[in-house]
Amino acid sequence: MERLVMMLILIAGLLASCNISKPVLPEWDVTLNIPLINRSFFVSDLVDSVNIITDDNDILTITGSGSMESPPFGLVRLSTNITANNIPLVSGINADMTLPLFDSAGETDVSYGEIATGVLKTMFADIAPEVTLIELSIEEFRFPNGESFSISYHGESGWQEHSLASLRIGTIDSGVIVDSLHLSVRIFSSLPDKVSVGNMSLGITEPLCFRVFQGHLRERTVWLDEDSTFIDIEYPFGIEDAIRLQEASLKIYITNELGFHCTFHGSVLAENSRTGEKLSMPILDENDNPYTINPGTMAGPSFTELIFEDNISQLFQIMPDKISLQDAYFTLCCGTEEEVGSVRDTDTISLRYQADAPFIFELYESTIVPDKPMELKLTDEQRDLIRTYANDALLGLMIKNKIPLGFTANLYFGDTDTIDHEDSSTYLIHKSLTLRSNKWVEENPTHPDLTQDGYQLFNLSLSHAEMELFSDANLHLLWTFNFNNSGIITVTASPADYIHIKSMMRLNVRIKEDMWDDI
């Protein structure tokens, strides 16, 4: 019995030694490999059809376009001063006379016109009481239905004004200049013939203004609206400091509603607002003469295309962000005596212009630096997660570069917005990677930094101390780019032009009990 008791005591003692600790979730470190991204960035994605387009050869092209238009031509004015006073009127005799018609300024000859404003003044004096009617007609003035213009005297006294508005002068499309007016006066009275019945005075002393005009116009200038003479170019990624474009063209499409030949005058001004550089080029043909613009017709406007290439390329050497047409205007050619022009008061000259700069450029040793660092805004929760759980991290990148550009990217992280990439005291972390161009990859297929299928491998590591910066509320990033290539580069935007990025984050985190609540 004593042995049994001893045995039970022994068993009890063994069981008593089983102290079970309170269960808690322990902490430990794990490494998480997290795929971040697998995406292709096509050059064609840069095409916005506004500032960047592709040409027929898939070459990426910076473009800017705009349009300009002249004000409506307005009424054509013929300043004449026709007067005839005290013309004797005799019964039984029709008085025919001719008065010269010319522009006192010598700028306008009318062949045909639809009068918008004009006044004929007449005065009949000392008219015998036996006169019952006096009719005055002017052959060159006709109503729209073709009837001649005439006025009648019915006993009025003093000067009478007769509107010439809506009357036509001359014959449409005849090409014959109307240089005189033919007047005819018929007198109806009970007096015998050849008896003086009074006298007549008339005048057209105010300018005749034409809504529709055919004839000659001399020394006439058509100005363009200055407010619409700008092309703004936005360069992607601010690369204008690092490249010089090699080719460019400016195309101007002119629509002329005026039935006159014109000469196009003006200059193209390119401005780089960052550097302050300006370069101007007069718009002249190969003989340094102004371009002549064909006339429109009554049936429709004329279209003229002007293309400038060599000279414009020079303008693009300053990588302009603003291109404007300066002092652009048209001068009407009066033509020969046999050739008359035509114009309506609503006619305009408009032009559309497009500046194209293909991405054929030469790279320069220049660092692309944003104006100021960007602020990386992490939420309080995200910063707490990093501070509490993240030990270190490694960002793995596989990049396939199928474009002819290679570059070195530098990332500077700091806790202020005064990061200066040239002053290491202003930032806390500096990471760098160099992406080779596709040409380099093709020439070095067995390079150890390349995979068999042409991916470039990169690893960016962040130590625990560096990770702590990401828990700072004032995290700022300044990135800079340096292009590595030299020589002339042509960037196309075909489906084969892309950068493919695969990325993995290797994150060393500490598993803690509250982690699941925080995430």
Partner: protein
């Protein structure tokens, strides 16, 4: 502590009322018990040993409960909990404790009723078995993270299965084989069990792939669990026993002959599928879930849970106050009740006083589990035999270093 001990004993006694009952005494010997079985027990261990012995089993009073795993023990658990941290050395040790997977085993066997008269016996017991495996690769993932690009999981290393049934067993033994007198007597016995299936859970399909690399994060996890209840089956056992040399007893049995349970009352396949294909963080937004989870169930066709045959050999050498035994068991298939990995075990009964026997058992570990050491004490008269025992896994004594523990209660009434 005494209160705890009493409570534990009460629970031990009460548990069979909940879970069932079977032989408890074998646990005292780390299952080196084939040649020790007498009376009703011989129905299950070697029917050849049924010989003119009257014995009665009462419900719940012969019970064995065993729970163990192959890697974890209380001391190590306390070490982690107290430190509140899993260090790099802890990780190495934790993984080194597993041989491919973390394995859990649970077994409850409890007698319902049994009696033995002359050379025959009729008995009934409840058997509950449970096994679970978790691939070491999962623990590897959990402790180290996804340091490797590709992880693959299969049913071999990750599965769960359980089986519960009640047997109604009739056995007959002590049949002497007609052999020449020059050959020692060899006795033959047989038993047949009608099996009433209670429940069955089986991992019908399990496959998992996890990759995380530059091509994205991909996950494919398919699980099909087959659950069933209400089955009917059979298994048979034959055994031979002999005493070739005085005091040296030897025997051999073949169990689970034609063993199987046909499930027909309730059968269901439960499918769980989790998948994610080439996922990148940049592709995720509020509208996208990281994983696609699918879950459905379907009625399964009637099926049979086969119980692979199992061979057991044993010897027992008796002296006046002590005996020694050795058993070797070899299954012919893996299942929740058998293993293809052979296991050897040793047992001893030390009886300086007939009324107060002491029991010892030991079984070396194998790939299925750690070594086992068992201790028991009995109180017996010519009518009643009472025994209490405990078995420790992975530790010589039940302690915080044990990776599992088994306890047993045995009460037989002889007449």
């Amino acid at each position: 502590m005494g209160r705890h001990l009493i409570l534990g004993l009460i629970l031990l006694l009460a548990l069979p009322l909940v879970a069932g009952n079977s032989a408890g005494l074998p646990i005292f010997f780390a299952d080196s018990y084939m040649m020790r079985a007498r009376g009703v027990e011989a129905n299950y261990w070697n029917p050849a040993l049924l010989n003119r012995m009257g014995e009665l089993w009462l419900p719940a009073l012969n019970t064995g409960i065993s729970i163990n795993n192959n890697a974890l023990d209380l001391k190590y658990y306390n070490h982690i909990m107290d430190n509140k941290e899993i260090t790099e050395s802890d990780k190495v040790e934790l993984l080194s404790r597993m041989s491919g997977s973390l394995k859990f085993n649970a077994k409850v066997e409890s007698s319902i009723v049994g009696f033995c008269m002359r050379d025959a016996s009729l008995s009934s017991s409840l058997h509950l078995f449970g096994k679970a495996k978790l691939s070491q690769r999962y623990l590897d993932l959990l402790l180290y993270g996804n340091e490797e690009e590709h992880y693959e999981f299969s049913k071999k290393d990750t599965n769960v299965e359980s089986l519960g049934y009640i047997d109604l067993t009739v056995g007959m033994g002590d049949i002497r084989l007609p052999l020449p007198e020059s050959i020692p007597d060899i006795r033959f016995g047989w038993s047949g069990s009608l099996l009433f299936g209670v429940e069955e859970l089986d991992t019908a399909h399990y496959s998992g792939i996890f990759t995380s690399n530059y091509d994205g994060l991909s996950l494919k996890q398919d699980i099909t669990l087959r659950a069933s209840a209400g089955g009917l089956g059979f298994k048979g056992m034959i055994g031979l026993a002999s005493e070739p040399i005085e005091n040296l007893h030897a025997g051999i049995t073949l169990d689970n002959i034609l063993g199987g349970i046909r499930w027909g009352l309730m059968r269901e396949n439960l499918h769980y599928s989790i998948s994610a294909e080439n996922v990148y963080i940049s592709d995720l937004d509020d509208d996208n879930d990281l994983f696609e989870v699918d879950e459905w169930d379907e009625q399964a066709d009637p099926f049979t849970t086969k119980l692979p045959m199992e061979m057991r050999m044993g010897v027992l050498y008796r002296l006046k106050m002590v005996d020694l035994s050795m058993d070797y068991v070899q299954g012919f298939g893996d299942s929740v009740v058998t293993s293809k990995v052979g296991r050897i075990s040793f047992g001893s009964e030390f009886s300086p006083l007939y009324a107060l026997p002491l029991y010892f058992g030991f079984s070396p570990g194998n790939s299925d589990g750690p070594y086992q050491a068992a201790f028991g004490i009995g109180l017996r008269t010519r009518v009643i035999a009472l025994g209490l025992g405990v078995q420790s896994f992975g530790s010589l004594f039940p302690s915080s270093k044990s990776k599992g523990i088994a306890t047993a209660l045995s009460l037989r009434i002889k007449y």
